[in-house]
Amino acid sequence: MQYILLVYLVFALGIFVIPRWLKKHVGIVLAVVQALFFVYFFSRISDATNGSGLLTVIEWLPQIGLNLEFSLNGLSLVFALLITGIGTLVFLYASAYMKSYEGTDKFYFYLFLFGGAMLGLVLSANLIQLFVFWELTSFLSFLLIAFFHKKELARKAAFQSLFVTAFGGLLLLTGVLLIGSVVGSYSVGDWLQHAQSIKNSKLYVPGLLLILAGAFTKSAQFPFHFWLPGAMQAPTPVSAYLHSATMVKAGVFLLALLSPVLGGTDEWTYIITLVGVTTMFLGAYFSITQTDLKAILAYTTISSLGMLVLLIGIDTTLSIKAAILFLFVHAFYKAALFMVAGFIDKKTGTRELSKLGGLYKHMPITFVISVLALLSMAGLPPTLGFLGKELIYEAKMQSPGISSLVLILGVGGNILMVAVSMYFMVKVFLGKEGDYPKKSNEKGFLYLLGPGVLTLLSLLLGLSPAVLGDALVEPAISTIRKEMIDIDLQLWHGFNDVFLLSLLTVMVGMAIFIIVYKRKQFLVKWRSINSYIFSIKFADIFSKSLEGFLNFSERNTKRLQHGYHRYYILTVVLFASVLLWFQVYVTRNWVFDIQFSLTPLYISGLVAIVACSALYAAIAKSRLATIISMGVTGYGISLIYLYYSAVDLAITQILVETLIVVMFVLVLQRMPHFSTLSSKLTRVRDLIIAAFFGSVMTVLAIKALHVELSEPISNLMLENSFVKAHGKNVVNVILVDFRALDTLGEVTVLVIAAMGVFILLKTKKA
């Protein structure tokens, strides 16, 4: 399986090197590759669904539980088939859609890699590995959403989606690490074996919350749903792929994958069910008042994701069955509808509902396809959607605990879905002729191939659902529920309360649609009510709080990084001397044995000269005098070194001192005239601080002589210098051999400093 991902990478990189004649058809080539993978996964159905499926482990760092683990089981197979299957259709669609745009190489590169990353995610059986692919999909979708990067809206939306999903990814990682520390492994298989001890552990609840936060951000659950409508700024093929089979389904996949490990507790059920049902209702509720085709679809995606999450949260065999089935239903109709919306946009030049209408005359085939897809979305027979909805109702009615709330909100969501589907269909295709910027036609086989195949599948599978049930749904359920289950999918369930509920849904949905459609005023009013109730927009809160945070940190940075060199030094010196004085105070009990041995006399004289010149440097009235007297200090100190037979040190000090004086003199020529700008008070303050620091340094120097914390290593070095390092000059041996690593570090610092000087002085002022 790891080779599949390698092939993805190779083909993605290959996009940049293929010959020019093939470049026009790169979308089709990639579609063929995806199709081949689809066939591969399809041929593996029997292998993958046999028992616990296929597992490949490549050890990387087994000591800390980091391995590459790929597993193909019932659940990952369902996702893999959706990713490659819908991927094929999306690439075919894109090869037509993207023709007129610049930079399609980049587009295909991102989109193909994205497919690969998504596949890697669903095949991962190690959660750290899953996290890597998870963040990879976040990052690639960022690049895809920002594909039209010249539009500010696209950039903003891309950033927002990256921020939300990557942040969620980090939460997920934290959660995985927490739970992983209970088990001592990140392998899903190990987690399954220790499911009970995980649930009993103290870390279960925090770990669960973090992992859920990761899944909810990715799958656009309330209150993190706001990034998804923004993501429609991406080119339409991307939206079709992102919303139907990939990206947002990653969260659902994660929940399904971990439900046998973490599920079955009250926390799991209540949190997921409540979030799911809220998302489902709100998504459908918001979708009606949208005016952009893609926005409507985006909000219904949120609603559908809420539904999927809710079903996983209910956590009964029936609900899982409904979830897996609905996964197919939603992938089929959502991909088809997005492609249709993009097609309409391309051909008519608009996606605004107010400008569309009566399209069935110009686009009859599109009309048929859309009607079938919308029937599926509304959950009406004879499509797969009807079956899905029936199952969902059944699951909801049986949901334990808070079934009444779930049922009411759930049915409410479905009612709204019916209304939206009807509204979409009637407004776009029927009704009075729209006002199109372009003259519309229906040319473009590739545009309609994808939606056509998907709706046909939805219709055929709706009529004979047992095919799907036996081959794919059953193994997926048994992967999640860890038991073999024989399910029986039929289109017709007979008259029962579920059917009555469906009937009610359709009738109320129709009623809402008629009101909305006939009375324009009503929708306008509804919109204004919505904007009144929901005047707090989540996306706005997000960007406002981000802005606030940036301002906050900017203000603080300005306070700390004020740009005045004198205050930086003042801060450092003051801080250091306070700390050092504190340490001196704490260790005041150490015995001092001070003997000033300033003999012979010339050393005392030297010290006096050094002290005087240092003092003069501080009060001198010209820069040159300051520098020369500092030079005197330096040379004096080097003489003291010499007296104590530190020849190397003395030579170095003399040379450095010479160079410094030379350079200072050179710089001085370019400095403004010396003048006293500081007030007397400032100078007194500086004097005090300087004295404070100087005194602590003196005390420290004296102390360093008298304190012996451990045996000094100088003797060891003296003994070994010639024997082991063939050198009589111990200083040099230490520098180039014993402590060569330190020297290396110092040289590096020097080089970096030189580069810093070079860059600072060479950069021209703007």
Partner: protein, 138 residues
Amino acid sequence: MNSVILQLATPYVRSLLIFFAFVALLRGHNNPGGGFIGGLLAALAIVFSSFAFDRRPVQRKLKIKPGGYVAMGLVFLLLSFSPSLLKSQMLMEGVWVTIPMGILGELNVGSPLLFDIGVFMAVIGVTLMFFFTLTNRK
């Protein structure tokens, strides 16, 4: 500066400084000296001649630019690691070769010399970089 005496003396002083730079570098292991001191001396030679003449022709005449010296120094530092790695010893452990020199006794040459040469080069480069960028401003 435009001093004829200085300009006439410069070739000799410069040669002497460079000679002593190498002396300091090579004898550093047993006597006072070493790469750092040698590097400073060599850099001083160039600083000195750019005082005697104008700075620009000196800078232009340099066969290797300061950045080149820095790079060479870092390369030598890296090279000094390779003997120990090739002999699969600890990284940066000194490797010594004894060359018999007849009457003169024997000469010990080791990888720390390479290290010292690296320091030597890097110090020349860094000092000249400081010097030329500081004086180059308009």
